[in-house]
C-alpha cells in the first residue's frame, strides 16, 4: 500500500488524497507532505534560514511530493557512482536517514541528518556513523554487520579498479577495523568503544572537519 504516513514527532502537515473509488489497482494515494515552517526547522537544526531555503528548493525540485522513497533514493545515489553498484549502500544510508522508520524520508529527516553530518559536533557525527553501521539498531556492531557495510562500499567501486579487488578485501578491511575499534576483544563494537577509538585516531578527527563547508 502506497506510502503510509504514520504519526511522527515532527508534526508536519500532511494531506492525504485517497481516491474515492475502491480502485486497488490504481492505488496511488497521492501523499503530499509539507514540512514545518522555517522557524521550527531553524531552531532544531544548525542551519540558518537561507541555507534551509536552498536545501528545500533543491529537495522540492527533485521530489515534488515532499517525500523520498527508497527506490528514488537508490536511483539518485546511484547516479553519483556510475562505476559500480551503489544500491546496497544506498539502502543502508536510507535506513540511517529514515529515523522514523516508515520507509520514506521527509524533508525534516533530510535536514536533520545533514545538520548532524555537516554542522554537528564530532560526537554527534560519530554517533550517526555508528547508527549507520549498526544495521539492526541493537547498539552493537557485529562483524557480520560491518562486513555487509564494507561489502556495500566496495560494490560502489565497480569492477575496474586498481589494484584489482580481491574477494577477501572486505574481510581484511573489516578485520583491520575491528582490530582498531574493538578494545575489549569481545567481538562487537559498542558506541563508546567506537567513539573512543575514533577520537584517538587523528586522521579520522581531521577528516571529520573536511565536510563542514559542503553546503
Amino acid at each position: 500500500m502506497g506510502l503510509v504516513m504514520g504519526a511522527f514527532s515532527m508534526q508536519g502537515k500532511q494531506v492525504d488524497y485517497h481516491p474515492d473509488k475502491v480502485d486497488d489497482d490504481l492505488e496511488l494515494s497521492i501523499v503530499c507532505h509539507r514540512p514545518e515552517g522555517l522557524e521550527p526547522l531553524e531552531a532544531q537544526t544548525n542551519f540558518n534560514k537561507k541555507e534551509l531555503q536552498v536545501l528545500y528548493r533543491g529537495f522540492k525540485n527533485e521530489c515534488p511530493s515532499g517525500v523520498v522513497n527508497e527506490e528514488t533514493f537508490k536511483q539518485i545515489y546511484s547516479q553519483f557512482f556510475p562505476h559500480g553498484d551503489a544500491s546496497t549502500y544506498a539502502h543502508y544510508l536510507f535506513n540511517a536517514f529514515d529515523t522514523s522508520d516508515n520507509g520514506s524520508i521527509k524533508f525534516e529527516d533530510f535536514v536533520m541528518a545533514l545538520s548532524i553530518l555537516l554542522r554537528g559536533t564530532t560526537t554527534e557525527k560519530l554517533q550517526w556513523t555508528f547508527n549507520l553501521y549498526d544495521i539492526n539498531r541493537d547498539g552493537y556492531i557485529t562483524k557480520e554487520e560491518m562486513t555487509d557495510i564494507v561489502k556495500a562500499i566496495y560494490d560502489m567501486m565497480g569492477r575496474f579498479t586498481y589494484p584489482a579487488l580481491k574477494t577477501d578485501a572486505p574481510k581484511q578491511h573489516v578485520d583491520a577495523f575491528f582490530q582498531k575499534m574493538d578494545r575489549n576483544r569481545d567481538g562487537v563494537v559498542t558506541l563508546d568503544e567506537f567513539i573512543l577509538a575514533c577520537q584517538e585516531d587523528e586522521n579520522i578527527m581531521r577528516s571529520l572537519q573536511l565536510f563542514e563547508n559542503v553546503i
Binding site: F80, F81, L132, I149, T161, F194, S207
Partner: protein
Amino acid sequence: MAAGVATWLPFARAAAVGWLPLAKKIMPKPPVDKKSRNDEILYVNVSGLRFQTWKNTLDRYPDTLLGSSEKEFFYNEDTQEYFFDRDPEMFRHILNFYRTGKLHYPRQECVQAFDEELAFYGIVPDIIGDCCMEEYRDRKKENQERLAEDTEAEMGTDTPLPPNSTHRERLWRAFENPHTSTMALVFYYVTGFFIAVSVIANVVETVPCRPLKGSKKDLPCGEKYSLAFFCMDTACVLIFTFEYLMRLFAAPSRCKFMRSVMSVIDVVAIMPYYIGLVMPENEDVSGAFVTLRVFRVFRIFKFSRHSQGLRILGYTLKSCASELGFLLFSLTMAIIIFATVMFYAEKGTKGTNFTSIPASFWYTIVTMTTLGYGDMVPNTIAGKIFGSICSLSGVLVIALPVPVIVSNFSRIYHQNQRADKMRAQQKVRLARIRLAKKGTTNAFLQYKDEGGFHDRDSDNALCLKNKSSFEHQHHHLLHCLEKTTNHEFTDELTFSEMCMTESMGYRTSRSTSISSQQGMSTSCCPRRAKRRAIRLANSTVSVSRGSVQELDTLQVHKSSSGLQSRSSLNARTEDLKLNCEDRDFTAAIISIPTPPANTPDESLPPSPAFPGILRNSRTNFYTHETVKISSL
C-alpha cells in the same frame, strides 16, 4: 547527470562521513568553492519578455552561453539585466532546460529555428530528452531530405556549369541531364528514336511478307528485305556504339561506369552485331549466331535511361527478390509433389502423356496456374482426383501469394523504413545513455589524469577545463571513496592490461614484457604517462611513515620541494604527450610495498616518459621487495 541531481550532491557528500572510520587512507581535501555562497536572482530580458532565475540555475551548465562568462557580453548596465534580441517563446524552453535538466522540443516550432536558437545559446541538440527526441529527429530528417531534394532539383536543371569546366565534364553533364542544352536534348531524343526503331525492326523482320515472285512460301520480311534491315541495324548499332564510347570517355570514373547496369545493357545490345560481323557465314556456327540475335531484344532495356518508371520497377524487383525466391521455392515443392503423384497415378494407362515425372511437371504447372492447355489430361480415376486436387490447390498456392507479394512488397518497404528508423533511434538512445554514463566515469578518470588532485591553492595547477563546482565536488566525493577502500577507479582498458601484466610473471625481477603490451598501451599512453609521472614525482617528495595506510597523498602533506617538483612537472606535461609517441619507454611495475626506508627515492628518476603500468606510486619505491622494472 540531471541538473536536479546536483541538489542531492551535498547530501551524498555529507553521507561520506559514514566512510571515515573505515577509511584506509586519509581523505582528500574538499574543493574550495570560491564563488559567493549567496544566490542571486538574474534578470534576463529576451526581446521584452523578462525572465528571472537564480544564478545557480544558469551555472549548472558552464559550457553554454548562459552558464559561462559569455553572457556578460549581453549585460546591459543601465537596466541591470541581460538582454538578448532573440525569440522569447524559444527562450522559455531553453530556460526550462536549465531548470529541469531536460531539453524539450516544442512541436509547433520549426525545427530549423529551434536548431538556430540552440546553436546560439551553445546547447547541443543531442541532449534533447527522450520524450521529444524522436519527433525532433523525424522533423530534422524531413527537413534535410526536403533540402536535399531542393538542391538536387536545383542542380539538376538550369544551374550553369562553372566556367572552367572541361569538355569532358560538360559532355558528362549533357549525357546525365539532357535538359541542360539543346544539343543534349536532341541527342537524347535521337537515341530514343533509334532504340525504338531498332526494336521495331527486330520485331518486324520476323513477320511473313509476301513471297518473292516465283516462289510460294511466305518469307519473313527480314529475309526479303535483308539489305534494308541490315542497313537499319548497322545504323542503329553505329549510333549506339558512338553513344557508348562518348559516355565512356565522359565518365568521371571509367571503372565505375563500366560496372554499372546501364553500360552492361549497352554492351549487350551492340555486341551481337559485331560478333555477327566477325563470325564467318558458317553453317554450324550460324546456329549460335541466331541465338545471339536474341540478345538484340535487350535494346529495349536501354529505354530505362529514358524512363524513370522502368528504373523504379527494376529496383523494386531487386528489393523484393527474396519474397519472389520464396514463392518460387514453394511452388517448386508443390509442383514436384503433384507431378510425382500424377505420374504414379497415370503410370498404368497405356499411351499416356505422363511419360516421366519431369514430363508431369508441365501438366502440374499448367494446371496449378489454372491455364489448362489440355495437351496432357489424366485418364485414370485416381489421376483425375489428384488432378482436381492439384488445380484446386493451384488456385490457393498461386492466387494467394501474388497479392501477398504485392502487399508484402509494400509492407516490407514501409516496415523496413520504420524498423530501421526505430532501430537506429533505439541504438542511438542506448548509446546516448551509455555515453552519458561513460562520460561521467570518464570525466572522473580524466580529471585524475589531468592531475586534478593538485592542491587547488597552487596557481600553476594544470589548467583544468571549464568545470563546474558540481563536477569538482563530485570528483572529490569519488576520490574520497577511493581513499576509503584504497583502490582506484580505472577504465576497462587499463584494467584488462593490468590483469595481463599480473598474470605475466609476477615475480620476475626484470622483464621486457612491454613489447606485447605496447600495442594496447600506446592508445592510452599519453594520459597514463602523465599520471605516472605526476605520481612518481610527487611520491619522491613525500616522506612515508609507517605502514602503507599512513602513506599520504599529495594534498594533505605539502612540502616545499613538492611544490617545486609539481610546478616543474607542469612544465613538462607538454613533453609528456610528445614523449609518449616514441616507443622506448621505461615502465616500472611496483608490486608489493614494504616498510619503507626513509630515503627519498633516487633510484627511479622521475623521467617523463613513464607510460605503461606504473602503479601504486604512492607507495614506496624504495622497497626491497620485488620491483619489476622493464626497461627497453
